[in-house]
């Protein structure tokens, strides 16, 4: 029962083969026994909410997520619930309002029953920087689930929920999804509202579903998407019917491959899996088209300038004055600021705040921030041009299989984890990671597809086909 996804659970509940309470309780029990540390908190009212939903369903309600237990990442607000973004800074913070994404899921009948562990303020690629401890990979607890949505991906991969929400700023949905054998999408920037989602880097952050199947992913993204008057950057483009893209073949689809990306793969495990995917695609009638995007290898340093710059500013509000941790010994305002922030933030967050303020500070602004923004514009333009010649672009999601916990000692090594994922964030296009094969250590490996802005449907078409026709199916 635990391995069921959104679609099956909803159907069983509507057919009275299962109640929301039963499945929610099953997940809660599983979380209690789990050694993954994927979940920070199971909400006290989870079963009450599930029972309420069962009643509502009994009286005819049949929302798209009716009764389905879903876990949210610890940076997504639900009024009256804790949300701490994996930080001591927000340890006691209780949301005063509900995020748009949570509200949309609640409207469709979801039971948001727990919050998932994450890298502190989503800064990390291994769910190792959380104030609430490391999360472990459901396929091998000596390995990382990836990050920053590692708790969400491990919960899905470890069957602790039907589905989970993550956020993706530089790969934080796709990389952990790849490591945990789950489907994860980073939607087009502006597709999903960011209102009520604790910000990391505003121009790059997107919320997205992490699910057990491509179909579940499409169902959930359809619920999450759309213009929100509370988020000026959310787009007015109508939301497509994503499930309509499923169960199609990929014959004649033009799959872009980028030579500079292939160069970046040299010496990495992913090269073999990537080549295998190319064979798979051609075998099923898709056409590989070489496309060029200049400076792809610079997407990562560009990201590590823009994201920290925005983060330094976004995280300045956590100052010990309004709703955060405040150091008790602080005697004056300056001490409240300095001591609260020094103790409230972990090492990686401090590192990125310092880096962000460095690239924004007078004397460095043009050389770093402005230069990075120009390169971003160029990458975006090149990416759009590449899509003139192909339907989707293929890339690895990750360098290989999930790394061993504690293996990333040097910050820059850890940053390299995002090398294949950041380009989608930098250019704003949607990208999906779909489980493809098992790696040399018998860990799951995902492959990544990118599509033009608001063409998530194409991603679902190809990912759904991969899911259904890959080896072992």
């Amino acid at each position: 029962m635990l391995e069921l996804g959104i679609k099956e659970i909803r159907e069983k509940i509507l057919k009275h083969e299962l109640t929301s309470e039963q499945i929610t309780k099953a997940y809660i029990d599983e979380i209690k026994n789990s050694k993954l540390n994927a979940v920070v908190e199971v909400f006290a009212d989870a079963l009450t909410k599930a029972r309420e939903m069962d009643k509502k369903i009994a009286s005819g309600f049949s929302g798209k997520l009716a009764g389905v237990p879903i876990i949210i990442k610890d940076n997504i607000l639900v009024k009256g619930k804790h949300a701490s973004a994996g930080s001591r800074m927000l340890e006691n913070y209780i949301a005063e309002y509900t995020s748009t994404v949570a509200q949309k899921m609640l409207n469709e009948g979801a039971v948001l029953f727990a919050r998932a562990n994450m890298d502190e303020f989503a800064m990390g690629s291994g769910t190792e920087t959380s104030y609430y401890g490391k999360t472990f990979n459901p396929f091998d607890i000596t390995r990382s689930p990836g990050g920053s949505s590692g708790g969400s991906a491990a919960s899905v991969g470890g069957n602790l929920c039907a589905a989970a929400l993550g956020t993706d700023t530089g790969g934080s949905i796709r990389q952990p999804a790849s490591y945990c054998g789950a489907v994860g999408i980073k939607p087009t920037y502006g597709r999903v509202s960011r209102y009520g989602v604790i910000a990391f880097a505003s121009s790059l952050d997107q919320v997205g579903p992490i699910t057990k199947s491509v179909e579940d992913n499409a169902i959930l993204l359809e619920v999450l998407s759309g213009r929100d008057e509370n988020d000026e950057t959310s787009d007015i483009t109508p939301v497509a019917n994503y499930t309509a893209f499923l169960n199609k073949d990929i014959r004649g689809m033009k799959i872009g491959v980028i030579s500079s990306v292939e160069k970046m793969m040299k010496g990495l495990d992913c090269e073999a899996y990537y080549n295998k995917m190319k064979q798979f695609l051609t075998k099923h009638g898709a056409q590989l088209v070489p496309v060029e995007v200049e400076n792809m290898e610079l997407a990562l340093p560009v990201y590590y300038i823009i994201a920290p710059a925005e983060a330094a500013s976004n995280l300045a509000r956590y100052d010990g004055v309004k709703y955060t941790f405040r150091d008790k010994d602080a005697r004056n305002l300056e001490e409240i600021y300095r001591k609260s922030r020094t103790q409230g933030f972990g090492k990686e967050v401090k590192r990125r705040i310092m880096l962000g303020n460095y690239v924004l500070s007078s004397g460095y602004f043009d050389a770093y921030y402005n230069k990075a923004r120009s390169l971003q514009a160029k990458l975006r333009a090149d990416m759009l041009k590449a899509f003139n010649n192909c339907d989707v672009i293929l890339m690895p999601s990750t360098k290989g299989e999930a790394f061993k916990i504690g293996a990333k000692v040097n910050p820059v090594d850890a940053y390299m984890e995002d090398m294949f994922t950041v380009s989608a964030n930098i250019t704003g296009v949607p990208a999906i990671s779909v489980p493809f094969c098992m790696g040399k250590n018998n860990m799951p490996v995902g492959m990544q597809f990118l599509a033009p802005h608001f063409e998530e449907g194409r991603l679902y078409r190809v990912a759904d086909f991969v899911e259904k026709h890959k080896e072992g199916k």
């Binding site: 005063e96 610079l298 300038i305 600021y337 922030r341 514009a377």
Partner: protein
């Protein structure tokens, strides 16, 4: 190369404080990170200052219509220190 003085300045901007030892360690680490970011220096961009900014037409901006917000109790519900419906900090000497 980043200097200790620069690190201290960044601490001021960031409202953080490192111990001497932390600062030393950070310095080494930070050099590596900045070197990593500096890879972009070699890239050539035509129209150097043309960064991409998404735009909205004025007509599509929010209409000037009021909506209810939070209650006072909600506003200060998470405050580490509060008084008379306000957030409270030690008296600021101007």
């Amino acid at each position: 190369m980043i200097t200790l003085k620069e690190i201290k300045h960044l601490e001021d901007l960031s409202k953080l404080e490192f111990t001497e030892q932390e600062r030393q360690n950070f310095l080494t680490e930070f050099d590596g990170i900045v070197a990593f970011a500096s890879q972009i220096n070699n890239a050539k961009v035509s129209g150097e200052d043309k960064s991409f900014i998404q735009s909205i037409n004025m007509a599509n901006l929010r209409e000037d219509v009021a909506k209810p917000g939070l209650t006072q109790a909600e506003v200060i519900s998470n405050a580490p220190s509060k008084n008379k419906g306000c957030f409270s900090v030690p008296r600021i000497m101007e």
